[in-house]
């Protein structure tokens, strides 16, 4: 039952991914081709330059250049009709062949876009998953506390804070945090993944943790309010269900009613809605990395925009989309796993 559900969700996710990549290819075709053309010209010019001090005549060199150019055009299918070009590009993107960057290089010196993106992915995952975990724990805890005494001081005051931080850009708070904690009260580094030069061994781990602290704190203090508010609303909704009253009537202790019956029932929506909110907040806060010089995917967007490196920009976008959709599918799977109505099936 669940297996079928998993399969269905996964296929659905892949289908959406393919469609989106096609849309991207159509949307950005012109820009991408312009970049490829200029890259080809660059290559040809470099080859021609290297030949110029040899004995070949200038005319021959020019002819060679023209021929090389046509060769490369054919290789990148730039001579084909537009429909075929888009298809070619989309298929390349789907197989993670993002091509070469124009300026940006990976730390190993490679200019393959995939290398550059893959280098950034784990950094983003570390930063945001750490923040996510802390965020969810505090959010859940506070949300349950709020739902237990709705309308009381704690609930009301924290709800007000939720609204206050609602429209606050995380990167702005990041700027303030750096200004305060890195320049006025100098207790945190102003950014980066680790000190330079990076220490070795366990010290490296501690150093990384130290560098992680301020960005994580910033993300968490903006994030968990919303999580708490959501949890509160879901738990409060569940607490008003008949089966809660029924469980209380059966003499089940309040602790078990709350953390057992209520939380277990509220878990599927809470988990999915929290994760969904986090997923969108990751994609929405991605620029945040730049403020902390955190060289993840968000920072890569920034750098590629500044350098106008179109292949990296588009490769990064395709990869982000893939990760985002995977996240959505995983979310569905978790929901299905937590909710017996989907996991076990039967009429709902």
């Amino acid at each position: 039952m669940y297996g079928k559900y998993v399969l269905k969700r996964a296929i659905n996710g892949i289908a959406i991914y393919v469609i989106l990549i096609f849309i991207y290819s159509i949307l950005f075709n012109v820009t991408m081709e312009a970049t490829v053309r200029s890259q080809i010209e660059e290559v040809v010019r470099a080859e021609v330059m290297s030949m110029s001090n040899s004995t070949i005549t200038p005319a021959e060199i020019t002819r060679y250049g023209e021929r090389r150019k046509l060769e490369l055009y054919t290789q990148y299918k730039l001579d084909k009709p537009v429909g075929e070009r888009i298809l070619f590009r989309a298929l390349n993107t789907l197989t993670f062949q993002y091509g070469n960057s124009t300026i940006i290089k990976s730390s190993s010196g490679s200019n393959g876009v995939m290398d550059i993106v893959l280098e950034a992915v784990p950094k983003t995952l570390i930063l945001f998953s750490t923040a996510m975990i802390i965020d969810i724990i505090i959010g859940l805890w506070l949300g349950i506390k709020k739902a237990q005494k709705p309308g009381k001081t704690l609930d009301k005051s924290t709800s007000v804070v939720t609204m206050i931080v609602f429209g606050m850009p995380s990167w702005w708070l990041g700027m303030l945090m750096i200004m305060f904690f890195a320049y006025i009260v100098k207790i945190f580094p102003s950014g980066g993944l680790h000190s330079t030069p990076a220490p070795e061994g366990f010290a490296y781990f501690l150093d990384s943790l130290y560098h992680l602290t301020l960005p994580v704190i910033t993300l968490v203090i903006l994030g968990f309010w919303g999580r708490a508010f959501l949890t509160r609303n879901i738990v409060l909704g569940v607490l008003q269900e008949d089966f809660i009253m029924s469980a209380r009537a059966r003499g089940i202790p309040e602790r078990k009613v709350l953390y057992g019956h209520a939380m277990r029932t509220a878990a599927p929506p809470i988990v999915t809605m929290s994760l969904l909110a986090l997923l969108t907040s990751v994609s929405g806060n991605i620029v945040f990395e730049t403020i902390f010089s955190w060289t993840g995917m968000g920072n890569l967007y920034w750098v590629s925009v500044q350098q106008n490196d179109v292949p990296v920009l588009l490769g990064n976008l395709s990869f982000t989309t893939g990760l985002f959709i995977s996240g959505l599918v995983i979310l569905d799977l978790i929901y299905g796993f937590l909710d017996p109505r989907i996991k076990v099936g039967g009429k709902a």
């Binding site: 949307l27 609930d155 609204m163 700027m175 320049y183 967007y301 588009l314 982000t320 989309t321 985002f324």
Partner: protein
């Protein structure tokens, strides 16, 4: 549902809304922003700021990276404020066929930190010679500048003591200071005003004890040609603190920038929210109403849009297409409309089952009529609540795109101000008055709508209401 019913429903809604304090507070903030927009022309110190925000020459008379004036209140050392001395004592004379004009300005200096710059400005044309002399409260008189100027087509004379009298100031200091000190000074790093407004004594380069009192600045303009004209001379004291919110490192007045940004933020937020929520509500209702095959198709399309990582796509589209503010709003609408669809669809599913919908269908009402006359009006309160909730999101997205330097260069938005701040290292240099106000404005506007939206939401979901 008739218009009058709708009106009643809305007035009932308002009655409920009035009771929610946070909602009223949100409305109050919103009204405050509106008032600031309406009175923007009156409040702007720099009327052309909207068009010339990026025109450095428009701001040249302002101090650079100056904190707000009110910071003086908190600091023990008072910084000189900025001011313009516009009505000097004017004297025309004629000396041996040469027409001369003498402007005398009196400046009362009562601060601990001297102005960044003192600028003499005048209008006119020709190639006059200008002599600038400076008399201090201690009686010392210094000839700062003696130079020929070509006014050119702009017809504008601008003399900055900061730029043009470095050597004269050092010269003055060397009369008191030891040679070994003054000799080592790099003229390009010296602000002459720091010397000019300090007590003349040994060690003055280092300690710079302010000399308070009345300073007399005399500008003598000698017209060397027949048709040289110079008029409207004025003296601009470029202080160390400036205005309500200070200036940035491009000398722009930040209060002006923040004020000018309000209308754009509001426009972006409200327009995006109205368009996308309306689209989403109509989409959800149609999907629910049609049901069956079309519902499936529409939900599939919806799923595709939901799976788009919004900000990255917006960033890439902005980088590739370089949109104006209107195209950016359009782009946001393309992705924002999915927000309310799911909720609306399930609400519409319930409404569809109501007997009066069935009745009007039986009476032969068209689909469009049922959808727009009978179903959508019921969703209007919900739509308003969602709009309020989506406004902050739209504002933040625009700000984020602008932060990357991809904003519309013809307008001033808070995101762009912050982008400049970030790129100029305002964070690292601690120029908080550049970073805090625009971000705070974004947060405050988001807060206003969050308060309104959450209050509406509370009314619409009585189950979650606290007793």
């Amino acid at each position: 549902m008739k218009i009058i019913d709708l009106k009643n429903a809305l007035s009932d809604f308002w009655k409920e809304f009035r009771k929610v304090k946070s909602g009223i507070f949100g409305l109050f903030l919103f009204a405050l922003f509106l008032i600031l927009i309406i009175f923007e022309p009156a409040l702007l110190q720099f009327p052309e700021a909207n068009n010339r925000w990026r025109d450095i020459s428009y701001w040249e008379n302002n101090p650079k990276s100056a904190p707000p004036e009110w910071t003086n209140f908190f600091s023990s050392k008072k910084s000189s404020t900025s001011s313009v001395l516009e009505s000097p004592e004017e004297k025309d004379s004629n000396m041996g066929g040469l027409r001369m004009k003498e402007y005398t300005f009196i400046y009362n200096y009562d601060f601990d930190l001297p102005p960044q710059d003192i600028i003499f400005m005048a209008e006119g044309n020709g190639d006059p010679m200008v002599l600038l002399s400076f008399t201090r409260p201690d009686g010392e008189s210094i000839d700062l500048i003696q130079k020929n100027y070509t006014l050119g087509d702009a017809g504008r004379l601008r003399i900055s003591t900061e730029k043009d009298s470095k050597l004269e100031a050092i010269d003055f200091a060397s009369g008191y200071e030891e040679y070994s000190v003054t000799d080592k000074l790099d003229p390009s790093l010296v602000n002459p005003n720091e010397i000019l407004f300090s007590k003349a004594e040994k060690g003055m380069i280092k300690s710079k004890i302010p000399l308070k009192g009345e300073y007399i600045l005399k500008a003598t303009v000698i017209m060397q040609n027949e048709n040289d004209i110079v008029k409207n001379g004025k003296l601009i004291i470029t202080g160390r603190v400036f205005g309500v919110l200070g200036t940035d490192s491009y000398k722009r007045d930040l209060w002006t920038g923040v004020l000018a940004g309000i209308k754009w933020a509001l426009l972006i937020g409200i327009l995006t929210a109205i368009i996308s929520v309306s689209l989403g509500v109509v989409y959800g209702v149609i999907s629910a109403y049609l049901g069956g095959f079309w519902d499936t198709v529409m939900m599939r399309i919806f799923e595709i849009f939901v799976s788009v990582p919004l900000l990255p796509v917006l960033i890439v589209m902005s980088a590739v297409f370089k949109p104006s503010i209107w195209t950016l709003i359009l782009m946001m609408c393309i992705f924002f409309w999915v927000g309310p669809v799911r909720t609306v669809r399930s609400m519409a599913m319930q409404i569809r089952e109501e007997t009066y919908i069935e009745a009007s269908r039986a009476l032969g009402a068209s689909h469009a009529r049922i959808i727009f006359k009978h179903m959508i009006p019921l969703l209007i309160p919900y739509s308003f609540a969602s709009m309020a909730i989506y406004i902050p999101g739209a504002i933040v997205y625009e700000a984020t795109v602008s932060l990357l330097g991809l904003g519309d260069a013809n307008i001033v938005t808070w995101g762009q101000i912050l982008s400049d701040a970030l790129n100029s290292g305002a964070v690292l240099n601690g120029i908080w008055w550049w970073v805090v106000p625009p971000g705070l404005s974004i947060a405050l506007m988001g807060m206003a709508f969050a308060f309104i939206g959450f209050a509406m939401d509370k009314i619409l979901h009585p189950k979650l209401r606290t007793r």
